[in-house]
């Protein structure tokens, strides 16, 4: 009898010891390769860097973090497959991922069904509107980008613009949002062109815009290869009106691809890109500067806002884990939803049951590309 009791106690102790050592599994699927590579690549690098740093500092809740990563290459089908694998086979505790809107939306039904806390790194407002219980996101939404751009345009006296957008989920969503909020800022959309996903020549569409009378500015909704080619074609056609891009091009890769044509392009982006030039009194400076230095010293390449979204997602997840005190999915979800006043690279996050974006436009700065680098627009 006594032996049995000792044996059971020892087994229980061993089991709890093993359980305490079991790592917290954070799953991710990102577009590391493919058309959205300059979103997914810095995202993955950021997640790897900070999981390492957190583990070196003792982990979370006394447990090490383990990152389970897959490359969905910007393909919604692959994203679904990997998300399923993360939920059912890898049995992760939460997911921070989904570089593009298309992938996130494809995965959302799986997430809702499985009851898995999911922080998306994609842009379109449709991800959180209507609010899905288990889906949160860290980038500013496309509607906020439209609003920020229109505020800038209005301040410069622009009233008539042309839109040009691609075929992807984010492109279409942002176009719809911009068309919806334009009248609130007194802006008329005089032309609306679109291009295909793999198109390599947009001179036809831009030529039509050029010949539309009274267009004072052009807004390109999209990310990846498309906007880079639009920018090059724009300069080729010598269109004098200012070109606005979305925060989907907030990466040095865009400037590298578009070359000299990117000079003078304006876009709304997180203060992260101009971290050094922020005044010391800026509340965001500390967080963005620290992230910028960590990322650049480790990877020897320029920081982008996409890596910043991944940083925000991971740190919010860690905050939620600490708040929940366990990896119980429902409690972690509730903890994420109750995050208030969290300073990330994109701004201050205040989640709530009706707001799974958490950001307001204050963290969104209007930037201009000058001499191949980001500057605050004057």
């Amino acid at each position: 009898m006594k032996h049995r009791a000792w044996f059971a106690a020892a087994l229980l102790a061993a089991a709890t010891a093993v359980q305490a050592q079991a790592p917290i599994r954070i799953g991710t699927f990102l577009s590391v390769t493919g058309p959205a590579a300059f979103l997914g690549d810095p995202e993955q690098k950021t997640l790897e860097l900070y999981v390492e740093k957190l583990n070196a500092a003792g982990g979370v809740l006394g447990r090490q973090l383990q990152l389970v990563a897959y490359d969905s290459a910007g393909d919604a089908e692959k994203a679904r497959t990997f998300a399923k694998r993360l939920i059912e086979q890898d049995k992760v505790d939460l997911i921070v991922g989904g570089s593009t809107t298309g992938e996130t939306m494809a995965v959302a039904p799986l997430i809702e069904q499985a009851g898995m806390p999911f922080i998306s790194l994609a842009g379109a407002v449709v991800i959180v509107e209507p609010v899905k219980k288990w889906v949160f996101k860290t980038p500013h939404s496309d509607r906020q980008a439209c609003e920020r751009i229109f505020v800038d345009m209005k301040a410069r006296g622009t009233t008539k613009i042309a839109l040009i957008s691609g075929a992807g989920g984010f492109d279409k969503s942002m176009r719809a949002q911009c068309m919806q909020v334009a009248k609130n800022h007194g802006i008329e959309i005089a032309a609306d062109e679109s291009y295909g996903a793999g198109d390599t020549d947009m001179t036809a569409q831009l030529s039509k815009i050029k010949n539309t009378l009274g267009v004072q500015a052009v807004l390109n909704c999209g990310f990846g290869q498309g906007p880079a080619i639009v920018t090059k074609n724009y300069r080729q056609l010598s269109i004098g009106a200012p070109l606005y891009q979305s925060h989907g091009v907030a990466s040095k890769q865009y400037i590298q691809l578009a070359g000299g044509a990117a000079e003078g392009v304006r876009l709304p982006a997180a203060a992260l890109l101009v971290a050094e030039t922020l005044p010391d009194s800026d509340p965001q400076k500390k967080v963005v500067l620290a992230y910028k230095r960590d990322y650049e010293s480790r990877y020897k390449s320029d920081v982008s806002t996409f890596g910043g979204h991944a940083y925000d997602g991971l740190m919010i997840a860690v905050e939620a884990l600490k708040k929940a005190g366990s990896t119980d999915k429902a409690r972690v979800r509730d903890a994420i939803e109750s995050v208030r006043g969290f300073m990330g690279t994109a701004g201050v996050f205040n989640y709530s049951p009706t707001d799974h974006v958490g950001l307001d436009v204050s963290g969104f700065r209007m930037l201009e590309i000058r001499k191949g680098d980001w500057t605050l627009a004057r």
Binding site: F38, T200, A204, Q205, R235, Q253, A261
Partner: protein, 291 residues
């Protein structure tokens, strides 16, 4: 209105010239062996990617271009020697599937040797657009059109005036007869593949400064080049050029005047239309079988 039309026309001619070069590659191989080489697009990709890679490694542009074309030609030779020749006696469908397999292999190798990112290539002579009657043209477009013209002239000289070129043509007309007069069909096939690969590489290098290059540009360009070859008449050299230019212009006009979202679909609708109504293409020969 006419300035816009001119803009579309110029854009169409530029991309049409690229399709023409790719279509020529298809036609040359088809002529020599009745095989449709679906790895043609990958030679286009190799040309562009290799030039970018060597350029980044510090090679001067002309040397990088020459090396890239040479590498593509060697790959074409390797494809013929190791994939097509051993399956010599197999049916045409088998050979086509072999080339599809080769194209997948080449794409995979490209992601290993290089990477999956988009790469820009510096334009050969600057980016300052040239104004022509209200439309603008990139200097790179002039390079594309000029080099394509030179290539077409060189090829017509090659096929019309050199013994090797005539041997290629002879093999395409009647393989058995060509063998009987002492033409080495094996050598002809090697030349055909190598030449087509070099043409594809040249196309890839010319277009890379305008459209960027990456590991998978070959898929769409190869298919569109195939559509151009079918349009012009598979196996016909002038047909390939006419088909390429026509396809480029139709695409540009379609994007400009109809809908820009369905640009890609136009090429494939054209394949269907040609196969339904005019299977031998615009300039192809009506094939007749003796019963």
């Amino acid at each position: 209105m006419s300035a816009q039309f001119l803009q579309f026309l110029l854009a169409g001619l530029t991309v049409g010239a690229i399709y023409a070069l790719v279509a020529l590659g298809f036609s040359i191989i088809y002529n020599a062996s009745h095989v449709i080489n679906f790895a043609q697009g990958e030679f286009v990709m190799v040309g562009g990617m290799c030039t970018v890679w060597l350029g980044n490694a510090g090679w001067p542009l002309p040397a990088a271009i020459a090396a890239a074309v040479l590498l593509a030609a060697l790959l074409g030779l390797a494809l013929e020697r190791f994939a097509v020749e051993p399956a010599r006696g197999a049916s045409v469908v088998t050979l086509i599937i072999i080339t599809i397999g080769a194209s997948i292999l080449l794409r995979g190798l490209a992601t290993l040797v290089w990477d999956k990112k988009l790469h820009p290539l510096k334009p050969f002579s600057g980016e300052a657009p040239i104004q022509i009657g209200g439309a603008t043209l990139l200097p790179q477009s002039l390079w594309v059109l000029g080099v394509t013209l030179v290539v077409v002239l060189l090829l017509s000289w090659f096929f019309g005036r050199t013994l090797l070129g005539k041997a290629l043509l002879a093999t395409s007309h009647n393989r058995l007869a060509a063998q009987l007069v002492g033409i080495s069909v094996r050598r002809v096939l090697l030349v055909a593949f190598g030449l087509s690969a070099a043409l594809g590489a040249v196309a890839g290098i010319l277009i890379a400064p305008i459209t960027f290059t990456s590991w998978d540009v070959g898929v769409m360009l190869g298919l569109k080049g195939f559509a151009a070859a079918v349009l012009g008449g598979m196996g016909s050299g002038p047909g390939a050029v006419v088909g390429g230019l026509a396809l480029g212009i139709i695409e540009a006009m379609g994007a400009g005047y109809l809908s820009s979202a369905y640009k890609d679909a136009l090429a494939f609708v054209i394949i269907l239309a040609v196969l339904f109504f005019m299977p031998s293409g615009l300039l192809g020969q009506r094939s007749a079988d003796r019963v």
